[in-house]
């Protein structure tokens, strides 16, 4: 077995972008693929279109008896007025959501990454039991968990704090992150690690310099999954965070849904604004999703 240097003439970026696509794709084929991509895109964005059109209508237009899909007048001011409504302090809600999600995601990564690496690389007794336990966390409804959580944080005197929600969100997603990254670490041929060790790299060096770059796609998946889950977490936030300004957007949204009438234009507008940070985060790490480059690592 030999460890290879990059083939001469093959630039790294080429290899990244090319995947295993045939070099020469006929034009109709490429167009067919693009058409398929567009169809998929439209299906996934359809509800957003409905939300968007709803977000620029007035309350009266949404509730009219004969509703139109396209707004007759465009009320862009909804996107300005929604920040200062009597229902909820939206700016604080946004800050709260960002702080909780970012720190919870960082915490999950710091703990889950080494754990996933070691469970995939070492045979140790109890490995299967651990992976099994991790799956069990996915089996319970959040509603079943919240009352117990409330009592735990009451005992810790952390009720109505960001710290509590950072811990809760991290705990909710930790097992999943370990699990998904585990399966990516397990996908790297062991020979790659062993070769590096024979070449004198330490265990930590192997983890950070060799294995990590190869499992970036798995890490990105775990980051996106964790961040989205934290961003939308609802059941526990509702119970643990009581001050309006501490509450995340998911809880703040429900304030627009009243017993007698609902400000749908704000519900939809806030939902659309709330998605922007998630997209920004994704664009920042998107390149890593195609970074896994085991190509030529083992022969």
């Amino acid at each position: 077995m030999a460890v290879l240097a990059p083939a001469p003439g093959l630039r790294k970026t080429d290899a990244r972008r090319a995947h295993y696509t045939e070099d020469q794709v006929s034009l109709p084929r490429m167009l067919l693929r693009m058409a398929a991509g567009l169809v998929v895109l439209v299906v996934f964005l359809l509800p957003y279109a409905i939300m968007f059109f709803g977000s620029v209508k007035t309350k009266a237009q949404i509730r009219s008896v004969d509703p139109t899909y396209f707004p007759t007048e465009w009320h862009w001011e909804n996107y300005v007025t929604m920040w200062s409504t009597p229902e909820t302090p939206l700016v604080q809600n946004l800050i709260s959501t960002i702080v909780i999600s970012v720190f919870a995601t960082l915490l999950v990564l710091a703990v889950a990454l080494p754990a996933a690496y070691y469970t995939a690389r070492f045979r140790f007794p109890g490995r299967m039991v651990f992976l099994f336990l991790v799956i069990v966390t996915q089996m319970l409804q959040p509603a079943v968990l919240t009352s117990g959580l409330f009592r735990q944080f009451l005992a810790l005197d952390l009720i109505d704090t960001w710290a509590a929600m950072i811990l809760v969100n991290a705990a909710f997603n930790l097992s999943f992150a370990v699990w998904i990254m585990h399966s990516f670490f397990a996908g790297i041929p062991k020979e790659v690690d062993e070769a590096a060790q024979i070449d004198g790299a330490s265990r930590l060096t192997v983890l950070f310099r060799i294995s990590l770059p190869l499992v970036w796609p798995g890490i990105v998946t775990a980051i996106v999954f964790t961040f989205v889950a934290c961003w939308n977490e609802f059941a526990a936030s509702l119970v643990i965070l009581s001050t309006a300004g501490n509450q995340p957007l998911a809880v703040a949204l429900t304030k627009f849904v009243g017993q007698y009438e609902t400000s749908w234009h704000y519900v939809f507008g806030v939902s659309i604004v709330a998605i922007i940070p998630v997209v920004v985060l994704f664009m920042l790490i998107e390149k890593r999703l195609v970074g896994g480059l085991t190509t030529g690592s083992v022969k």
Binding site: M51, F130, V134, G148, L149, Q152, D199, T205, G292
Partner: protein, 329 residues
């Protein structure tokens, strides 16, 4: 940490960017990788185990205790809860409604998992075949669907399938000339599950597609090229090369889908509120809610929840054993 600090200094020579290169003159230091990691693996798992204990096993324990008690509204307000042995379980298992709900949930889950996995895999494969621009565009679209809370998604889809002014009825009637004016999608159970399934699959495909796409990037190109040169068609390449490479990813994603689809709650609950017939459309997740928070019979609800967890455990056990076996080959 077990790693000796001294070796870090020599490491960069062995790594160039993301690729390994043979070190120049440095004599290789043979260090046998230890089969067992000593205490390190356990130490690294401790935080995860604490989190697991706090958010899953403690509540699960309480759930199990309640399922053996007579636990109604009075007990919520502090009345003592007498233990009743297996009475709650006996009552649940003797109730034909439970079996109807169970059968409905399993059938619905099987359809959902198959459709989600197929669609997710196809989207992931499509992503590998698109150019960078379209791929990013598609991933952002998928991300948007993924990041929409289930409740919001259900409300919006519910609007689209609305009886009197939904866009679906409008298109079918005015676009295709079918008689769908004032057609109610949610009254008929099969049609209800079609809409519910659409909302659930729509929300689940992005996760599956992303995860499988991430896995696909790990399949070595040379192997696929070689197979293509040897005349393997697209389907054969998938079956013989891609699938074996991604087996553990597929197993993980499938088991998660099975669990999530069996316990699905929000979409069914919200659609029932919009206009479904509860008795004919309840699945396990909703049924547990109806029998605990709904009726105040927490003992009965607990028993159903525990039975559901046992059922999921049985399925997962077979899967996890499979994953571990595959990796040990």
């Amino acid at each position: 940490m077990t790693a000796p600090v001294s070796t870090i200094a020599s490491a960069p020579t062995a790594v160039d960017g993301e690729r390994l290169v043979t070190p120049g003159v440095q004599p290789p230091r043979f260090k046998r990788p230890r089969r067992r990691g000593g205490f390190t693996p356990y130490a690294l798992l401790v935080p995860t185990l604490i989190a697991l204990a706090a958010i899953t096993f403690w509540p699960l324990l309480q759930l199990i205790i309640i399922s053996f008690q007579e636990f109604g509204r009075a007990q919520v307000f502090g009345a003592p809860a007498p233990f009743v042995g297996f009475d709650n379980y006996a009552a649940v298992l003797a109730d034909p409604t439970y079996w109807a709900v169970m059968g409905r949930s399993v059938a619905f889950c099987v359809v959902l998992v198959v459709v989600t996995m197929l669609a997710g895999t196809l989207v992931a494969l499509l992503m590998t075949r698109l150019n960078a621009f379209f791929r990013v565009l598609l991933s952002v679209g998928l991300l948007l669907a993924w990041a929409m809370p289930a409740l919001t998604a259900t409300i919006v889809w519910g609007w689209m399938f609305d009886t009197s002014y939904g866009v679906v009825n409008f298109m079918l009637t005015n676009g295709l000339g079918l008689d769908f004016a004032q057609h109610s999608w949610l009254v008929e159970p099969l049609s209800f599950f079609f809409v519910a399934g659409l909302v659930i699959v729509w929300g689940a495909v992005p996760f599956v597609a992303f995860t499988i796409y991430a896995g696909l990037t790990q399949v070595p190109e040379e192997v696929l090229e070689a197979a293509q040169l040897d005349g393997a068609g697209a389907f054969q390449r998938f079956r013989l090369i891609i699938f074996p490479y991604l087996r553990s990813v597929f197993l993980v994603v499938t088991i998660l889908q099975v669990i999530w689809d069996l316990k699905v709650f929000t979409q069914i609950f919200a659609l029932q509120n919009i206009g479904g017939v509860r008795e004919l459309t309840s699945t396990l997740g909703v049924y547990i809610y109806q029998n605990s928070l709904g009726t105040g019979e927490y003992g009965t609800g607990g028993a159903i929840a525990v039975l559901t967890v046992i059922f999921m455990l049985a399925i997962s056990f077979l899967y996890v054993r499979q994953v571990v076996k595959e990796e040990e080959l």
